[in-house]
């Protein structure tokens, strides 16, 4: 029932070429559902191609809420997100998200082999015309000390760090222009943290420095290593460091 019903419920969305753009988020406001209380409000952020931004600040200030809002994963009540000067709304949202990928703090997968999980995005309309590249995936995995047999592993048996690696490889193989990373290494040991960071580095090299990042992390050392610009989110808004 897929294709025909999909056109019924979603219309025929055009797959635009909207790569390489910058992100502009203006006056972003999100209210707690069914309440007048603003979780975040009036936040602005511009990310140019290649820029790496870290969001830091006290717990509860709304870093994750803001990150999810500009990744357009949650409805916002105020403001607008633009990608390559185009308003992200309706059927442009999946196109935008194929260029600017959000990674959850903890990756959740259905029961399947790692390879099946990595293949899955290529079934999506937005990635049609691209093909799963097994050799490239193996190379990425080998870069973080996982061999070819890792592909056969079941998602049920993955550790937290391995899940994070799978999620990151799944995103990177799609050549995104921007990654939203929400505490990507929060519960990982030092070796896995290094593996995750090296994957990010690898992706940036492949993108020839045009890969952008928006990173939420309470690991200040990490934000210094990874980001070029650090912004502090407090109850009064988003401020440049110092």
């Amino acid at each position: 029932m897929s294709a025909s019903v999909e056109s019924m419920v979603d219309g025929q969305g055009r797959v635009d070429d909207a790569g390489g753009g910058g992100l502009s988020a203006r006056d972003i406001g999100r209210r707690r559902p069914d309440s007048d209380e603003w979780l975040i409000r009036g936040l602005n952020l511009t990310v140019e191609p290649g820029e790496r931004v870290a969001l830091i600040g006290p717990t509860g200030a709304g870093k994750t809420v803001f990150l999810r809002a500009i990744a357009t994963l949650d409805p916002i009540q105020e403001g607008a997100v633009r990608w390559s000067d185009r308003l992200v709304t309706g059927d442009f949202a999946p196109v935008y998200r194929s260029h600017a990928v959000y990674l959850h703090q903890r990756a959740a997968f259905d029961d399947a082999s790692v390879e099946r999980i990595l293949r899955h995005p290529f079934t999506m309309r937005v990635h049609r015309g691209r093909a799963y590249d097994r050799a490239r995936v193996i190379e990425l995995l080998q870069g973080v000390g996982r061999g070819e047999s890792f592909l056969e592993q079941s998602s049920r048996d993955l550790s937290g760090g391995e899940s994070q690696i799978v999620a990151l490889v799944r995103a990177i193989q799609l050549d995104p222009d921007l990654l939203f990373l929400d505490e990507p290494t929060a519960s990982l040991d030092r070796a896995t943290t290094r593996a995750v960071e090296s994957l990010i580095e690898r992706w940036r090299e492949e993108r020839r420095g045009r890969g952008s990042l928006v990173l939420v992390s309470h690991d200040l050392e990490q934000t210094r290593r990874v980001a070029t610009r650090r912004l502090i989110l407090t109850s009064t808004g988003l401020h440049p460091e110092n």
């Binding site: 419920v9 999946p94 959850h104 999506m124």
Partner: protein
């Protein structure tokens, strides 16, 4: 009909009801503690069935399309609302979605049953319309209810998977499809089991009733088959409709999963 139909007298009914008292006695003797519930349920059943019997007797005697239609609409409303009502996670509009699913599925199947398969003239002949529609409604209600229940609970349980799929560029439909499939499948599994077991493990109720009323077993079996096929169709149609409506409620036009639209409904509230 080969054999005469045997009417039951009040005396015969009393003998049967006496067995409920015996059961209640056994409950007391063994301290099962369920004699009260047993008697209350038995009395409820008597009152409810008598009321339905009286109403239907009246409708059968009237033999008027408006009266039959009224009964069918009332049954549909009850079945539809029950299908969309559930304790636990629910959303605004869930009852309406259940009602629409049940109505479309069961009325579609019923129209085929009355007009095309059995070819009842006139269509509202209560002897056919009420039991056929009633049986289809009851089963569609179960299927749609199970399907909606599965859809909402899976969206909560697999929220992470759905969201990470959306985050990679999936449309809301692509992200929801595995859960919609699982929802429709759940609604249908019971019917598949019933069909597979029919005649071996159980003698289906409708067929049993027709034999009691004097129909030959082969005639009764044919009716049973027709009703099972139509029920299957009604459940598939009803649960697909309900699942798509639920999907449209819980995902936004911007391809977001909005679980804040789910609220906890208290049991009995």
């Amino acid at each position: 009909m080969d054999h005469a139909y045997t009417r039951l007298t009040t005396g015969q009914l009393s003998i049967a009801s006496g067995l409920v008292l015996v059961s209640a006695g056994a409950s007391m003797a063994l301290s099962l503690g369920i004699e009260r519930g047993l008697l209350v349920a038995a009395v409820r059943m008597v009152v409810q069935l008598m009321a339905v019997g009286l109403i239907l007797d009246w409708v059968f005697a009237l033999d008027h399309p408006a009266a039959v239609a009224l009964v069918l609409v009332a049954m549909t409303l009850i079945a539809g609302v029950s299908a969309g009502w559930r304790a636990g996670a629910s959303y605004r509009g869930m009852i309406a979605n259940g009602l629409i699913g049940v109505t479309l599925g069961s009325w579609g199947a019923s129209a085929i049953a009355l007009l095309v398969v059995v070819r009842v003239h006139p269509w509202y002949t209560p002897q056919f319309a009420i039991p056929l529609v009633g049986m289809i409604l009851g089963n569609t209600m179960n299927g749609v209810s199970l399907g909606l229940d599965r859809l909402t609970s899976e969206l909560v349980a697999r929220r992470g998977q759905v969201e990470s799929t959306l985050a990679l560029g999936a449309t809301r439909w692509e992200a929801a499809l595995p859960i919609i499939r699982s929802s429709v499948r759940t609604g249908l599994i019971q019917t598949i089991n019933t069909m597979a077991a029919a005649g071996i493990v159980t003698l289906p109720g409708m067929m049993t009733g027709q034999m009691l009323a004097g129909a030959t077993p082969l005639d009764a079996v044919k009716y049973q088959m027709v009703i099972m096929f139509l029920m299957t169709f009604a459940i598939v149609a009803g649960s697909i409709v309900a699942a798509i409506l639920a999907f449209r409620r819980l995902f936004t036009a911007d391809h977001q999963l909005d679980l804040s639209r789910l609220v906890e409904r208290k049991a009995g509230g």
